[in-house]
């Protein structure tokens, strides 16, 4: 059959048109299928979470099984401490390697760092947890906030590096030249002009990394370990919000489940806010 006949054949054309509509319809179904769980998870968590959420949740310690009430104050503070420690490790390293990759991209070392960061971003968080266990917990002979922070810090590095690199690349070349032409050294140009111009983008990247780290559970299981009491010294086991949710969720007690939902709601709300913020800032800045 010649090509002309194929095209002129009305049956063939009908079939092609049918396949066309069918596939486009299937794509639409796929989109709905993807969005559905998101909406479901979000609405479900919000519903269950808000009903369990009260002032006590933020101010009280967990109560023993059987007693009503109590909250996750220690876990929230614990998460804060862990993220702070993680940020202390992850943010400077991430930003510095981002700068190096973006500004000195031709060197071999920059390529190596880029590859390492890509690999690091694919390493399962639980493996990072084992690493932190080996390096910190074994050395200190105790589970501790430091170990948990260390693990979170490592997990933050790839995100921060990637965003820093991308944001620095968006800074127009002419600004670098303007500064260099004034006789400002390369290093000062990078810090005082390029970094400063890209700062809002980098801050959103840091926020994103923090939001991600805040939800991490796996590496904390055997580094921060969890704690049901107030604990703010960083060489002791410490509670964390996702850990607490995990423990409560797999427990058989109805009241604990409600608490866990409240915790989940707080987490999801935070993630949502941060993502929204990031969207807003990056759109404003770079269209």
């Amino acid at each position: 059959m010649t090509a002309e006949k194929i095209f002129k054949n009305p049956k063939n054309l009908k079939r092609r048109k049918f396949i066309n509509s069918l596939m486009i319809f299937l794509c639409f179904v796929a989109a709905v299928l993807t969005i559905l769980p998101l909406l479901y998870i979000f609405i479900y968590t919000t519903q269950s979470g808000i009903s369990a959420l009260n002032i006590d949740f933020f101010t009280q310690l967990p109560k023993p099984v059987g007693e009503e009430g109590g909250g996750m104050a220690n876990a929230i503070v614990g998460s804060g401490i862990l993220i702070g420690l993680g940020g202390l490790i992850g943010i400077p390293i991430g930003i510095m390697s981002g700068i190096y990759i973006a500004e000195y991209s031709k060197s071999f070392l920059a390529g190596a760092i880029k590859f390492t960061t890509d690999v690091l971003s694919g390493v399962p968080s639980i493996v990072v947890g084992i690493f932190a266990y080996g390096v910190v917990v074994l050395a200190m002979q105790s589970f501790s906030a430091i170990a948990g922070g260390f693990a979170l810090g490592i997990l933050m590095i790839p995100t921060v590096t990637k965003i820093t690199e991308e944001m620095l690349r968006l800074v127009p070349h002419s600004l670098r030249e303007a500064s260099l032409a004034l006789g400002v050294s390369r290093w000062k140009t990078t810090v005082k002009v390029v970094l400063k111009t890209a700062s809002s983008g980098i801050i959103t990247g840091v926020l994103l990394a923090i939001a991600r780290a805040a939800g991490e559970t796996a590496p904390l299981l055997f580094t921060a370990f969890g704690n049901s009491f107030w604990q703010t010294s960083i060489d002791q086991p410490i509670a964390a919000l996702p850990l607490q949710i995990f423990v409560y969720a797999i427990s058989p007690y109805e009241d604990w489940h409600r608490q866990a939902w409240a915790g989940a709601f707080v987490l999801i709300f935070m993630v949502f806010i941060v993502n929204f913020l990031v969207r807003y800032v990056t759109r404003n800045k770079f269209g």
């Binding site: 299937l26 796929a30 993807t34 998101l38 694919g122 390493v123 639980i126 939800g215 489940h257 993502n275």
Partner: protein, 275 residues
């Protein structure tokens, strides 16, 4: 990092050698460890997740990049991004309380009544188990594969599609051609999603049932590498168990490393050409 883990697991590596990978015994009390069940659980759950997620992800990516108006696209992309950012613990939590009961009461009986003659769909319906874990994983990796597929499709020159349309191709035929051109990049995205599924811990731990066994049925509980580490590490009773768990971690690292490197190479090969 690799070195550190190797040193920490050396006790177990020395004791069990290659048998570690092929033995399915995991009995902490007797100090006998073999990782085969976990490797099996990881591979099966991840591949099933990929199988479910891949067609859907490609569909969404096409939908996002080709079919909808720009304003819809931005908000939809945003939703997909959020889906990727939700902590895995929340997926797991949702999995226990919403998905698992739903599986037990609706999906699993349905599958059994239709495909019950296959060994995969026989046995007790717990709700939790391999199939449920795979579905959760599929939901979790869909945003990743979607994002990459979308980027790869965007990298295909518009002129190519226009050339196809100019020859009288239907919309789908044009898209099909773009997909064919982007196939190695899409494969890269799929492999990246696979890597994520392999390493995913909390959500899987919460819904897979955590039982070290290899069963034909997808309804049965199973165990993955990541979840055995999560469950047993903190309360491991002796040095040998910790060492064995770290070795599991090392295998996990090795597998994800290879999978991710492959994915990166595939993605680079497409996006580089387009620049």
């Amino acid at each position: 990092m690799i070195y550190e883990m190797y040193v920490d697991s050396s006790a177990s590596i020395e004791k069990f050698g290659f048998g570690f990978i092929f033995s399915s015994h995991w009995e902490p009390v007797k100090e006998e460890f073999g990782a085969l069940t976990f490797i099996y659980g990881t591979i099966v759950s991840s591949f099933m997740a990929l199988l479910m997620s891949l067609p859907i992800s490609i569909g969404v990516a096409i939908f996002l990049s080709e079919l909808v108006h720009k304003s819809v696209r931005t908000s939809l992309s945003f939703l997909v991004e959020i889906l990727a950012a939700i902590p895995s613990i929340i997926y797991g939590f949702w999995g226990i309380f919403v998905l698992a009961p739903f599986m037990r009461t609706t999906i699993q009986p349905f599958l059994q009544s239709v495909f019950g003659f296959l060994p995969f769909f026989q046995g007790t319906m717990y709700g939790t188990g391999l199939l449920t874990a795979s579905i959760i994983l599929a939901i979790m990796i869909t945003p990743i594969i979607t994002a990459i597929t979308r980027d790869v499709l965007k990298a295909i020159p518009v002129a190519q599609k226009e050339a196809a349309y100019a020859l009288g191709a239907t919309r789908w035929e044009g898209i099909k051609m773009a997909l064919l051109n982007a196939r190695s990049g899409i494969l890269g995205g799929a492999v990246l999603g696979l890597g994520r599924a392999i390493g995913e811990t909390m959500a899987v731990t919460m819904v897979i049932g955590n039982k070290a066994q290899i069963m034909a049925s997808f309804f049965e509980p199973a165990y993955t590498m990541a979840s055995v580490i999560a469950n047993e590490f903190a309360e491991a009773s002796n040095e040998m168990q910790i060492s064995a768990l770290i070795e599991v971690g090392l295998i996990l690292f090795g597998v994800t490393f290879i999978v991710n490197s492959m994915a990166r190479l595939l993605i680079y090969s497409v996006t580089r050409n387009s620049q």
